[in-house]
């Protein structure tokens, strides 16, 4: 290594910082971000992350379409979002710079791999001149680092191809950023050992590149400041960093154990839900059966079969898959069997934006089936919340003998945050009773109900309870097929009433802030963090604003109507065109205002806060926020300009 003496450098202490790694989708940026996140979590920071990657596994190298990014927000205070703007941006090539620079704050740190800024790369990114040389980056603290050359030098002599050597560049970048933010290398060194222990060359090369990056920071004069973000004051306990889909898988396994059930997952691979299937497949020793079905319909109907068999039955998919499952969900509702249907929402309609986030499947969840076919719908608000929501969904499913729709989204599924690890023994058991053999002479009545309107869950194999269920309308009490008009009306009402009664199990709605005021922000799902932070910011400015975040979106909490009436205005931010708002307006006749965005990205705190300020000022113009003309891609912009000028 270099023999240069380590320079004296300043250390600044910050409350929080946001770092984004971006590069080609083959550059290992997700790994860099993940390692940085885990290290920050281990140091005791609160964290929130936002991985953002293209749908193509490897789009052509160096193109704008192939850019993959990972943003980490870490802090010494409570945080709920991955950060609106970026304090430090690492760009591995011109395309990554072009697509990400807009999010870097003025005066922010910009670290680029200067070796990638050659003619071809610049051209692919649409740069006519080299931005590193033409002065366009002068409002940032630019560090041009010859990462390719430095990495090659660090791994020189190792028995590897040039391509393999260059693949270590992400570790060099990591090392440099680790130094910049005063993070230890040990967790990443442990990771390298675990992951590449069987390939000593690769392990050695990645270690060398990581250390080279770190030492580069220490020694190079141009980078003269290091930043330190102290530990956050989290609730005491043992923590780990957890990703949404992992938390969801753990939650399902926990619910199965708490209810003494086998866990059956029927699923078909689909982004961004597949990792739930993959995670559960790794834990068969928890009595987990994972069935990768031939299609979404089979995944759903096998789940129905598993529920009939008496298992805790779950299916997991995303919007297009849920569309295919629709008929099966109807059968699940008709047969009144408990199960969980998970929708990790992504940008739609149709194939849409598979790797991007959206909340536009709420109508689908609540209404998306033929006939009058309601089901309870619960939504997770953050990665760690998935763990709790999975248990809650199962508790309701078995209490009411009804399938439950569980909504998350791509942002929650792939994002991570610190999770205070619970003790299994402290978790609430989920009680289930199955009827046993009836006393002599009694006919088993498969559709006789308890006070919650739940029918008995009679399991095949139980003598004396032989019965038939199915998709044809059933006579109440007996469960025999019935075409009687009055019975159909009765059963439709009954299935609706059963779902409505779930509200009896929903605790009073929490209000973050005063119980009345000028403005209530009402949110659901993954927008929780941005809404909570925006509301806190305005409360700190003395505004009379509060926040309600819904966990159950169907049915709604019983006290929600009264709460909303105590505020002059209600704002509902959603990553759709106003689906919850439509429902709220229909049920409560409240003139709720929307903040709506469908750009495949979560809300920034500023977007919500600005809208709140506008509403408080009485400015109610535009509920939807169409993208600015200047945000559109260049070819589209050119054509639109032509058209609008009559060209």
């Amino acid at each position: 290594m270099s023999t240069t003496a380590v320079l004296e450098k300043e250390i600044h202490t910050l409350d929080e910082a946001t770092v984004r790694f971006c590069g080609d989708s083959g550059d290992g940026m997700q790994l860099a971000g993940t390692q940085f996140t885990n290290t920050s979590a281990l140091m005791g920071n609160d964290i929130a992350t936002f991985p953002d990657f293209p749908a193509e596994i490897r789009a052509p190298q160096g193109t704008l379409a192939g850019v993959s990014g990972f943003q980490v927000h870490f802090s010494s205070t409570d945080i709920y979002t991955p950060g609106d703007t970026v304090d430090a941006l690492v760009a591995m090539n011109p395309a990554a710079l072009a697509t990400n620079l807009g999010d870097l704050r003025t005066g922010g740190i910009l670290i680029v791999n200067s070796d990638a800024f050659e003619a071809k790369g610049l051209d692919q990114a649409g740069y006519e001149t080299n931005p590193l040389e033409d002065g366009t980056l002068k409002s940032y603290r630019l560090h041009k680092v010859a990462m390719t050359k430095l990495t090659r030098a660090a791994v020189e002599g190792l028995d590897m191809s040039q391509k393999e050597k260059d693949r270590c560049r992400n570790f060099f970048a990591m090392g440099l950023v680790f130094w910049l933010y005063d993070r230890p290398l040990e967790p990443t060194l442990r990771y390298i050992e675990d992951k590449f222990g069987k390939k000593p060359e690769i392990a050695q090369a990645n270690t060398a590149a990581l250390k080279a990056g770190y030492h580069y920071g220490e020694t190079v004069e141009a980078i003269n400041t290091q930043f330190h973000v102290p530990k956050a004051k989290l609730t005491p306990g043992k923590y780990t960093s957890i990703v949404g889909n992992t938390a969801l898988a753990y939650g399902l396994m926990t619910a199965a154990r708490l209810s003494n059930k086998r866990l059956f997952l029927g699923a078909y691979p689909i982004t961004p839900a597949s990792s739930i299937l993959e995670e559960l497949a790794r834990h068969k020793n928890f009595d987990v059966l994972t069935f990768q079905a031939e299609d979404e319909i089979a995944a759903m109907t096998a789940t129905i079969g598993a529920a009939f068999a008496g298992a805790m039955a779950v299916t997991a998919s995303s919007g297009p898959g849920i569309a295919l499952k629709g008929e099966g969900i109807g059968l699940a509702i008709m047969t009144e069997l408990p199960m969980i249907v998970i929708n990790v929402q992504r940008g739609g309609p149709s194939t849409g934006l598979p790797t991007k986030t959206e909340q536009a499947d709420l109508f689908q969840a609540i209404f998306g089936r033929n006939g009058e076919c309601p089901m309870p719908v619960i939504a997770a608000c953050s990665p760690a919340d998935c763990f709790d929501v999975a248990q809650e969904a199962w508790r309701i499913a078995v209490r009411y003998m009804v399938p439950v729709m569980l909504l998350t989204d791509g942002y929650i599924a792939n994002g991570s945050e610190p999770w205070r690890i619970p003790k299994y023994a402290d978790l609430k058991k989920i009680e289930i009773t199955h009827p046993g053999r009836p006393s002599n002479g009694d006919t088993f009545l498969a559709y006789r109900r308890d006070e919650r309107l739940a029918r008995p869950w009679a399991i095949p194999g139980t003598p004396g309870l032989e019965h038939r269920i199915g998709g044809l309308e059933k006579q109440d009490i007996t469960g025999n097929v019935s075409y009687d008009p009055a019975n159909h009306q009765h059963m439709v009402n009954l299935r609706a009433e059963k779902v409505a009664r779930v509200a009896n199990d929903i605790p009073p709605q929490k209000i973050d802030g005063p119980a009345s005021g000028d403005l209530l922000v009402l949110s659901w799902g993954g927008t929780y963090g941005a809404c909570a932070t925006a509301v806190h910011n305005l409360q700190a400015k003395g505004k009379a604003v509060s926040h309600c975040h819904l966990r159950w979106v169907n049915p709604l909490p019983k006290d929600l109507g009264d709460i909303m009436k105590r505020f002059k205005k209600v704002l509902i931010p959603e990553l759709n065109l106003g689906q919850l708002r439509t429902i709220i307006r229909a049920i409560y006749l409240i003139d709720a205002i929307g903040l709506n965005k469908v750009q495949g990205k979560p809300f920034s705190v500023a977007e919500v806060a600005n809208k709140m300020e506008a509403v408080l000022r009485g400015d109610l113009s535009s509920t939807e926020a169409p993208p600015e003309m200047s945000d559109l891609e260049a070819p589209v912009k050119a054509i639109l300009e032509k058209v609008s000028h009559g060209g």
Binding site: Y239, A302, G305, A309, T335, G470
Partner: protein, 341 residues
């Protein structure tokens, strides 16, 4: 200490549910239902351990008429429902009742995959070559040129042969029966029930309302001996009213030959339901009456292969043996952790 009591002796009537059977009078489904109830007491399986799953169509009303557990599911999905059920509860005997439209058209994908997984399911496909419940449209097994309500100028898609499909999907048990040949039908159903792994049975079933006589050639007393061939394992393939005709292999192709005139039984194809390769079974499944062949009935193929429902549970046991029963507290803390005081 509990004592295993002998199973109560059940009669076919014990398997009848209290529901009125609502198929059209004269429907072939009645015979299949009767044979099913008849074989049930002979299987030695308690009633509560038997489940019938069906999709949609006339045949799919079947579970309502059996006093066992049952589910009348949705169109084409019965094999998938049964897969979930059997995976969780391999101890149950699971039957799938389907038809030519339900199984081969809307549910073709599920049928294919349930068969190739070789779950221990008994799949009975009632083939009447028509959509009966929707009142007379052509089905995937209707012959070319078939005029129906939806094909007034004749069907223009090639029909599927259910057994060829099943064999192509690696079925381990493949058989055919005819609704009116009740003794033989009962025997085939019993063999299907006893097979470990997926059993696929095609039943020629007459829809006397929308497609009456579709199988007349195979059912009429005068013609059936010449138009069908009862397969017997290890025996030469002989048929005909006078048992004077046989099937011989000519190169890769079967041919009908007359016995005598220098052709003896030893020249004929001998049936081997346990052949390692499915070639013979496939060849038999392609023999059509319209091409001058008798159509084989009986068991085409019966081989043992590992079962999905067994293996998926074996994997649970194997991982449990290797790692011990899952401990959630350990799992939660299996990544990097830190303490906040």
């Amino acid at each position: 200490m509990s004592v295993d009591l002998p199973l109560p002796v059940l009669k076919p009537a014990d398997f009848a549910s209290d529901q009125d059977v609502r198929w059209c009078p004269g429907c072939g489904d009645y015979a299949i239902l009767a044979q099913m109830k008849k074989i049930m007491p002979t299987l030695g399986i308690p009633r509560e351990k038997i489940v019938f799953i069906s999709g949609i169509g006339c045949s799919s009303r079947f579970p309502y008429y059996m006093n066992t557990y049952g589910m009348h599911s949705i169109h084409g999905r019965a094999p998938a429902v049964a897969t979930g059920l059997k995976t969780v509860r391999p101890d149950l005997q699971v039957w799938v009742i389907t038809g030519d439209g339900d199984g081969l058209s809307i549910g073709g994908n599920h049928l294919m995959h349930a068969i190739r997984r070789n779950l221990d399911l008994n799949i009975i496909l009632f083939n009447n070559r028509i959509y009966g419940l929707t009142k007379g449209q052509y089905s995937p097994t209707s012959p070319l040129g078939k005029k129906t309500k939806s094909t007034p100028m004749g069907a223009i898609d090639n029909p599927l042969h259910p057994l060829s499909i099943a064999i192509g999907c690696e079925a381990t048990f493949v058989a055919r029966a005819i609704d009116t040949e009740i003794k033989h039908l009962g025997e085939v159903l019993k063999r299907a029930a006893e097979h470990q792994g997926v059993s696929f049975v095609e039943v020629y079933q007459n829809c006397n309302v929308f497609n009456d006589g579709a199988w007349a050639y195979a059912k009429e007393r005068e013609t059936k001996a010449d138009t069908t061939l009862e397969l017997v394992h290890g025996k030469p393939m002989i048929f005909g009213k006078n048992r004077d005709k046989g099937i011989r292999l000519n190169g890769m192709n079967p041919e009908v030959v007359e016995l005598g005139k220098g052709i003896s039984e030893d020249d004929l194809l001998f049936h081997d339901e346990k052949a390692a390769e499915p070639s013979l079974a496939y060849l038999l499944s392609r023999m059509r009456y319209e091409d001058g062949f008798p159509e084989p009935i009986g068991v085409f193929r019966a081989v043992e292969r590992p079962r999905y429902d067994v293996m998926i549970n074996d994997q649970v046991e194997q991982m449990t043996a290797e790692r011990g029963k899952g401990d959630l507290d350990k799992l939660f803390a299996s990544g990097d952790t830190w303490e906040v005081a």
